[in-house]
Each structure stands twice: as C-alpha cells, then as structure tokens.
Symmetry: C2
Subunit: 379 residues, 2 copies
C-alpha cells in the first residue's frame, strides 16, 4: 500500500514548513521512508511503534504476527526528547531542508540499543558497521504512520528505481508467474551469474535487484555497479526474461536477520523466489557461512511466503569445464578457480585482467577502470 | 506397501503349479508386477479393475480420486476368456514357466483398446510403439490384487534395482530432505548433466533413475547405458549427493500421460522433485514439445505431491562459455552446439569422437564402442 502526500498536501506543507516541527533524516532513514511509502515494507505503514519494535527484537515478528526481522526506526537524541509530542505532525526533511514527507507522531519511546545490537546484529562490537551506525543514533524513537513526497527521493538511476507496484505491473504484463530476485551489493561475477541462471532455469524470469542505498566504505559504489550490471545483462542475459531494478534500501550488514528482511521485501515487490547464497548480507566474520540460510528454518514456508533458493559456494571448475558448486562438482581445489575478494581487488588495482572464467571481460574492464582511476583507494 | 508371497507360499504355489490356472506374463506385465509388488505403483495393489481402468482413461485419476494416467493391466485374448473365473487365484508365470506371483481374480472385463490408445497415447497410429503393443494385446482384462515372488524378478543390475523402501531408507540415512529424480532411457550427455546439476543446486540430492524395463528397438540398451551412467557419475558427480538406481518399468512412450505417471511413481520412491524436460517420454512427432510439461497444469500441486522442475532445451554455448538453455542464453544458433540424435548416432557409427562440450569423453567412448562393434545396426 502506497502512502504519498497529494500534490496539494506537498504544496501546503512546503509553505508551512518554517512553522512546523522538523526532523532531519539521515540517508538510512530516507531510504526507509522511501520504502515505507512505496509499499516495499508492507505491512508497515510508518516507523515502528514500541509494540512492533520490541516484538521484532524478541520474536522476529511484528506484534500482529507477520515475520519481520529488522527494526525500521526514526530516532532522536534523548536531549531532543522534549521537542516532540505525541499527536503532532512532524515534517521529515533532508539535510538540505527539502520536504521528504511527514510523520504522524503516535508514540515517543525509549529503544534498547544494546538489546537491538545483540538481537539484530548478534554482536556489540562497534567495528560492525550496523552496530556502529546504531550506536551513533539516538536512544529515543518516534513511532507512527508516514506519508512521503512522491518526488522527494533520489533520482539516481531513476529509470531503474521501480516501485513494488511498477514491478508487479511489469511482471503481470509479461505474463511471468514466477520471478526470482537476486539481491546484491557487489558486481556480478561469473559465480553470481551462475546462481542467477540456475534459478532462472526453474522460474519464468529474474529480477536483478541491487541495493543502491547506503553501503559501507569499501563496497563498490552503486554507479560503478550499475554500469557493470547493464553490461553483463546486455552481453549474457536474455532480454525477455531479466529485469534490472534498483533497490533503494540501506545496507544493514545484519546477515541472517537481513536475509529474512530482504526476502520478505522482495515478496512485496511481487517476486516468488529469492536467492540466498553463503553469508548473505554478512560482513567480516560475524556470522556463520550458513546462518543466513538456516534462519529460514525458524519460519514456515507459508509465513515467509517466498520460496528461498539456497546456494553453495560456486566457482569455475577446469575438469567440469563449467561453473559448478561444492554440491555439484566432485573435483578438488586444484581444479577450481577461486579468488578472494581481496585478491580480486589487488589484481584490479594492479591493472591486471581477471580470468574470463571468473568475471566477464566487459565487467572486469569497468572494475579495472574504477580501481585504477581512483588509484585503488577505498572511499 | 509391498505385496510379496512368503517363502512358504512360494514353495506351496510352486509345488501346486502344475494343477493351477496359469497366465504367462510378457516383459511389460512382468515389469508391472514387480512395481506393483514393491510399492512403486502405490496406491495400486494389483492389476486394475474396470472402475479404475475407465476412470484413468476418462479422468486421469483412479476411481478413488488419486491422479493416475497409465492403465496397469493384465490382458488375455477374448478366446481365452472362458479359461478364467472371477474369484479364482491364478499363477503368474514367465515365458520359461517360473512362478512370478499370483493374481486374485476379482474381475474379468472388456477393455476398450481404441479409447485407450486415443486417451493414453493420443493416437491410433500403429507405428506408435505404445499403440502397437496395446493392439497386440488381448481385449479382456483380469483385474485384482497380486502378490509376487520376491526372488522372481530379473537380477540384471541387481545392486541398482532398489525398491521404494530401500531408496527411502537410504535417503533417510543420508539425511536428505529433498531429492530430485531424473528419469532417462538415454545415455547422459552434457545437456542432461546440466539439467541434473541445476536441479541438484537447489535440493539435497539427485537420484539418477534410468528405466531398464522394455524399450523399443533403436533405443540404447540398458546395459550400455548403465555403463555410461557409472562412468559419468564416477568422473563428474559428487558421490555423496548422487544415487544411481535402476527403474525396472517398461517404457510406454505415452509422452504427457507417462510424464505424470513417472512423476507420481518417483514420489513413491521418496523423491521430492522430478525433472521434466522437453518431449518427456515422447517418440516421433506424436506430442508437442511442451505437452509433457503443460499437462501438470491440469492438477494441483497437492495432488501431484512432487515438485515438477520443467526445463527448456539445453546446449553448450560458445559465447556463454557454459551450458545453458534457451531461457538463460541470449545468443544465436551459430554459437550453440546442437546435435540431433540422428547426427550423434551417425558420428558414433562412423567411429567419430563427439565434441567434449556435447558428451563427456568417457561416455562417448562407450557409445562409440557400442555403435561400431554392433556395426551400427539397431537391434
């Protein structure tokens, strides 16, 4: 269900902005606002009230029972607590002061950041980017329904920024009854292409749905990645069965909890299948390799509502003469082309080509240009 | 549910055989008896009575409602009709007179061979091997429960001739929760290996389940095929996720109807997924390419009870540098390695090697020996 201000409301609130209570949203909160407004976070209609927030932490479910694993919150520092009142309407603005939406403040309450860190991220370690972000945010949450200014959001990758309604309409027009979604925050190497094509063999179509919201320093920026996606799709994917769309969410790096969240949200986008590889949404060594796959055992297929396709580590095997995984290839490590992310970055920074069995040349070229032209410096 | 004579019953019936009414089973009927006895044809407990026979022809279901698409019948010529009586127990014997089982004759009735040919095979053309066999059989059917002599069946491929009970036990011991079955009456080329491995990527294990009962002249004999299967599994499949077992059924060449039958029977063997490619169980040009996939739309997922994985035509694509299908490869025919069955036979008969991208060399070697040593003559 979409929740947008009418053009009249936008004009009215914009005029009244100087007199209104305002709250400046950071990039993560802006992403959340966009996804609350376009229905991607359905059944949520706003930033969480306490009953949902604590239910998610303790039960991986909203208070009404729907599976939900990531708190969607809007915070203020304790010292600003007196500025807002329950029952008020607050203008949500970006750092430059532009109106992005409004919040009907239904509840002002204290979160528990330590509990949240442990339950969502499984750690209190502030080196974890999700925990670091959480600890930088306020202790007090504003909960309540939102409405967003439809034109208020980033126009980056505008043609790819398709809402759940738009994607569902496209799927229906194409007659696709089953669509598998692939979440990524990385360039697509052959190993990822293989997963996607294995999945595509058993469904009608593939949604390549890269996350383009906030990511941590060191991840390949979304504009570079989008260029890679366009190239690989043009060269190696069938145009009539693949869609590229931008997923404007922020990355949480919450591993298993975020895998469930990513799956549920893709169901809202109209997908029927979702790919979960090893260490989905992981970072560092905070999660076990299969944690993000095993967490789905905690829920029934019905309550997840989207079929989870779990994959093993994949690679090119010389003796198979094919892409394969540890599940389908009987050969040893000496036959397998395995390169760590670190090794790949080193090769690209040194201006080396990646093996064609690892990365399509068109993609490698873009990555090499990015790593050499930025002098190999992580932003 | 298994239905075997006890050792005492076998001794008793064998002693009494000279005085008993006897019926000599042909190879197709012997296959059916074996599969009725070992539970592969559950819920059938014997050769069909009229209510099931006609229900299958008209509704693709047994009288009690279970999906079933192939009549399992025991026929006699009209002129022998007077030899048997309802209520009798008849000894079922092979051509050499050996006791294979007994039939409790519950019903003697007339079949409708024309209707059966049209409903099951979709044609009255006697060039169709299934129709030709049907028309060679009697007009009168004996229906009733059977019991089989457990030691009465072929010992060919004995170690691979695993019953539903045995396969289910193995699946449970290995802890496999999902097993995909691959039915075949052909050698496994790279295209089939690809289908199997795509399926294996999303389930726990693969059952390669070649049909080793009656097949038509011109098909590669089962002993040659079993040698091929053993080689390809040893060289290219992970031993801990793949089982080879012989499926002792006769081939009907009934296309879509046989695809449903093959799926239901594999469910009885404990499998959770079943691969249906293009023109499954087809012969000549009697069926549309996708008929055997589309027929499953006539049934709910619940009543089929095994997940059907439908695949497109697959091949090696030079530009992909991979096996692929028309669903996953965007390139043209000029990049794809496609060889017809006829072309492959011609190459093998001429002593030529098959391309490695088409057939694993170990398999090609066995096929070449078969085709050259038998002087390329189809039996």
């Amino acid at each position: 269900m979409e929740a947008y201000l009418t053009p009249e409301e936008v004009r009215c609130y914009t005029r009244g902005l100087p007199e209104m209570k305002r709250l400046v949203l950071d990039p993560v909160e802006l992403s959340d606002l966009e996804l609350l407004a376009n229905g991607a976070f359905s059944p949520l209609q706003g930033f969480m009230r306490s009953k949902d927030y604590f239910s998610v932490l303790e039960n991986d479910r909203l208070a009404a029972g729907w599976v939900w694993t990531i708190p969607i919150t809007l915070s203020i520092p304790v010292e600003m607590c007196g500025n807002y009142r329950e029952g008020e309407t607050v203008a949500l603005v970006s750092a430059d002061g532009g109106l992005k939406g409004i919040l009907y403040v239904e509840e002002i309450y204290h979160r528990n950041r330590e509990r949240e860190a442990l339950q969502v991220y499984g750690t209190l370690d502030r080196k974890h980017p999700g925990v670091r972000y959480l600890m930088s945010k306020g202790e007090v949450l504003l909960g309540g329904k939102i409405k967003a200014a439809a034109d208020g959001f980033s126009r980056e990758f505008a043609e790819y920024r398709l809402s759940p309604r738009e994607l569902r309409r496209i799927f229906a027009e194409k007659g696709w009854k089953s669509v598998v979604a692939f979440q990524t925050r990385n360039p697509i190497h052959r190993a990822h292409e293989y997963l996607q094509k294995v999945a595509l063999e058993i469904v009608d179509a593939l949604l390549i749905h890269p996350l383009v919201g906030f990511t941590k320093p060191g991840d390949v920026p979304s504009d570079v990645r989008m260029a890679c996606y366009r190239e690989i799709i043009a060269g190696y994917f069938p145009a009539d069965r693949v869609i590229l769309a931008a997923f404007p969410a922020a990355m949480r790096y919450a591993g298993p909890k975020e895998a469930v969240f990513h799956a549920i949200v893709r169901k809202n986008y109209g997908c029927t299948h979702f790919i979960v590889g090893r260490d989905h949404a992981g970072v560092g060594h905070y999660y076990g390799t299969y944690d993000a796959q095993n967490i789905f055992d905690n829920f029934s297929a019905e309550e997840i509502g989207i079929t989870i396709l779990k994959f093993e580590n994949t690679f090119y095997c010389k003796r198979c003469g094919n892409m394969a995984s540890a599940k389908t290839c009987p050969h040893g490590a000496e036959d397998r082309l395995l390169l760590s992310g670190t090794k790949v970055r080193e090769m690209l920074q040194a201006g080396q080509d990646l093996p064609e069995e690892f990365t399509r040349p068109e993609v490698a070229r873009i990555l090499k240009a990015y790593y050499t032209e930025t002098a190999g410096v992580c932003p």
